[in-house]
Amino acid sequence: MSELGLREPLIFELSKPGRRAPSQFPPETAVAGDLSDGDRGAAPGAARGAGVPAYLRRLSRPHLPEVSELQVVRHFTRLSHLNFSIDSHFYPLGSCTMKYNPKACNTYAMLPEFLGRHPFAPGPQGFLACMYELQEMLKEITGMQAVSLSPMAGAQGEFAGVAMIRAYHQHRNDAARMEIIVPQAAHGTNPATAAMCGCTVKEIPCDKSGGIDLDALEAAAGPATAGIMLTNPSTLGVFEHRIADVARIVHKAGGLLYYDGANLNAILGKVRPGDMGFDVIHMNLHKTFSTPHGGGGPGSGAVGVGPRLLPFLPIPLVGLQEGRYRWLTEADLPDSIGRLSGFMGNAGVNLRAYVYMRMLGRRGMVRVAEYAALNANYLMKRLTDLGYEAAYPARRASHEFIITLKSESRRFEVTAMDVAKRLLDFGVHAPTTYFPLLVPECLLIEPTETETKEELDHFCGAMQEIRREMEQEPEKLRTAPHTMPVRRLDDVRAVKQLDIAWKPAP
């Protein structure tokens, strides 16, 4: 069973006026002394004396919790017990690559010299050497000519990629190309990104075996085509083996090819996006290169480009000149699409990816793809042997695969969501549900290379038991989960009676 903790009050409910964690206060100075216990009622800003005009001062203190240090430690430790995580649970969340995040990556990215460095302090050669070498390794792995680490997440990497495609066409006086082609199965960020870049979206269908419908592509590509956004392997979990034809069609029409790196884990060291004909790629360092997901970020969405897009890379990136590393800026790349962050992207995330890649090395990279594929194909076979239906049974799984519960949902009136929720009771995080939208009642399952055979077998055992429940006691699925800190939540009420911030009682 999952062994999560019990529910925990809000930190505001633990608060008591006048309680503090005073060892965290700055040293007393003559001025701060004004705020000592005897003067607690003093108006904020009084400490600034006559320097601050009264109309700029805050009149009442913000409602932040007033708690002791131990209360804080205990509260957040208890909250942590309410989470599934890779460190504690199998997390086969398709398309998200929830692999082990090695502890060393965090420990050595958090060395005090790295943490204490201001981004505008003079060029730290040690840190910049790591960033430069990371760019070089990512170039090699993707078959691209240059890499910028500045995008702060996959979606920002996508934005940078499409913005570069637009810049390319504009520089060729071909700016009427405003259409981005995406396959129906694409992740929602692809069309959303195209729209943010001012482009329109043209969706094309997939064929029965999960590949791109080449006839539809041929018909869609033309003088308005800016480019196509693809993952390969696709979001359907299969490799698009006619990728060379796709590239030929799109390039012939004058468009460029964008590689969404969501599924790069599947092909690491096996086949390179640059060799497949892609002009630009974003990588999710938080997936393939194992930086932490952190409960929803920070990610890092490094972009790589082929020769056509070199001048447009987002700044800053690290250059090496006369034996010294430095940040390249507008002055070095005048045609850059510009800056995407206040400083240097998610520098510390990039450093974690660097540590990971140095530990793996060139052979380790290839083994990532190999064992991710082994685990995925093994799971797919075991689940189909248990009676589950693979969405593309004739195809190899890549690093992930789709199970469709279409027939089960009809026969037993249970949904993919019910199965996902019931899995939580077995101590397994749910696979991705209802994505891609194309496959009804689907579970997208990605075990990753760092899981043992025993863990996969435990998952299969749970799925076998769930299958029995489906047939014999389906209500158990419909009302799952049963062992979590909460039961299913009322999402409709969450929207209708919107409560998104605690307020003190009047």
Partner: protein, 470 residues
């Protein structure tokens, strides 16, 4: 290789279940012609001990500077519990909380975070964070254009008192949607915006929004009431860019403007880094964003709401998802998927530890330390404060010679002395931006003053001064 647990027996058993001869066979759908050669450009793998040695040596070579740079990233004391808890695997290695029942820890924490951001800013609704302060402002500009129903304009006033990098990032991100920016000048005497200058710059057709950074890029405090009233009178929304620590001392954006009730900034955003996040060579940080309830559906990013489960017990879940890319695809408010969850975790723990009094003490100490710094440095001949306006924890100093050689000489003495404003604000002359937070003791300030005196008298700086005069 190092993190793959398979034994040779595992591999052969698994392959036999699959019905494949080898792992290579699993890649038989990839055309042979496309298969990659060995990755010569990637070094061979190293043990943790070897990589640890490499990183430790590189970090040591970078060393540590006594830091007086701010300009959007601020050095504060970070309480030990903050990262001890934030790096717990249960927070560190969890995904976005899509499966609410198995993510109540992350979800409740984000709800508490949203509540704290609302409390600090005086607003009604906050999101679960954006990438950083600069990109948060870009998103705020796009949001203002969607939310301002009273104006057709796609133009935004982004004054030169706003962090220049933020202005560039907003330009990078928003220009594809036809958004244009105008950059009104500031009052050279006060280093803040003047209503008269703004009035003079008004174009016909108006603007969708006015961006007010408080304290502004120079550290000066803007006259927020007059600016807010003027923007609202001209059908603009007000986007406030604020330092969250400063909000313990200064009027929250929700209370800006003189009209009782219906006033205040419309969208608030800023850099969350000062709340327990280390400088770390530039990131990861996080952006915060808050608004009025009436605009909440135009706000990008994740939002967590409190609701009840099927047994009526309270619980937390992602809400208002109809705005987001996975539902709305090309019609979403933004393509953003993630927030900066780990940094939000740190910030929520930080704000809980400091509480209302601690945060106020930190802010007051920063302001006091900066006044001490300015006094100490301006006693040196050839160094003057550019403005005599009320400020928070940064100040512009004007030197009698070019700044870069002086900063280089300071760096040789182990001091990161400030940010040269020559490129971004040449109108200020030989200007640099300096900052002191609560972390700077009297002896640090003294060390800086001594080093600056030395640097100014050093041969290279003296040469620069001579060249300047010639």
């Amino acid at each position: 290789m190092p993190f793959i647990p398979h034994t040779p027996t595992d591999v052969s058993e698994m392959l036999s279940v699959i019905g494949a001869e080898s792992i290579d066979e699993l890649f038989d759908e990839i055309p042979e012609a496309l298969k990659a050669a060995a990755l010569e450009g990637v070094p061979t793998g190293r043990s943790e001990m070897e990589v640890a040695r490499l990183l430790t040596e590189r970090a040591a070579a970078d060393g540590r500077l006594l830091n007086f740079i701010g300009a959007g990233a601020y050095e504060h004391h970070i309480p030990a519990p903050v990262w001890a808890i934030a790096t717990r695997g249960e927070f560190y290695s969890a995904y976005t909380p899509y499966q609410a029942e198995a993510s109540q820890g992350t979800l409740q924490l984000i709800y508490e975070y949203q509540s704290m951001i609302c409390a600090l800013t005086g607003m009604e609704a906050a999101n679960a964070s954006l990438y950083d302060g600069a990109s948060a402002l870009a998103e705020a500009c796009l949001m203002a254009i969607r939310a301002n129903r009273g104006s057709e304009s796609r133009r935004i006033l982004m004054p030169r008192t706003v962090n220049p990098t933020y202005a560039k990032v907003a330009q990078t991100i928003a220009r594809h949607q036809g958004v244009e920016f105008e950059a009104p000048a500031f009052d050279r005497r006060t280093g803040r915006l003047s209503i008269d200058a703004l009035k003079g710059s008004m174009a016909s057709g108006g603007y969708a929004a006015l961006v007010i950074q408080q304290p502004n890029f120079f550290g000066n405090l803007e006259e927020i009431d007059a600016l807010t009233d003027w923007a609202h009178a001209n059908r603009m929304l007000v986007i406030a860019v604020v330092n969250p620590v400063s909000l313990a001392l200064y009027r929250p954006p929700g209370e800006w403007g003189s009209e009782a009730g219906g006033s205040g900034a419309d969208i608030v955003c800023g850099e969350g880094q000062p709340l327990g996040v280390p400088l770390a060579c530039g990131g990861p940080y996080f952006g915060f964003m808050a608004t009025r309830l009436s605009h909440v559906r135009q706000m990008p990013g994740r939002v967590v709401g409190r609701t009840v489960d099927t047994e009526g017990r309270p619980g937390f879940t992602l809400t208002l998802q109809a705005r987001e890319q996975h539902i709305r695809r090309s019609k979403a408010t933004s393509n953003i998927c993630t927030n900066q969850g780990l940094l939000v975790t740190a910030a929520t723990i930080y704000l809980s530890l400091l509480g209302p009094e601690g945060l106020e003490r930190v802010a007051a100490s920063c302001a006091e330390r900066t006044e001490c710094l300015v006094q100490a440095l301006t006693r040196i001949p050839g160094v003057a404060a550019a403005f005599d306006t009320p400020r928070f924890h940064e100040a512009v100093l004007v030197l009698d010679r070019p700044v870069p050689p002086v900063l280089a000489a300071l760096a040789e003495r182990g001091i990161a002395g400030g940010l040269d404003l020559g490129a971004s604000h040449p109108e200020l002359g030989h200007a640099m931006l300096v900052c002191a937070t609560e972390t700077k003791l009297d002896r640090d300030i003294e060390a800086y003053a001594n080093a600056l005196r030395d640097a100014i008298e050093s041969p290279s700086a003296a040469r620069a001064q001579l060249e300047e005069r010639a």
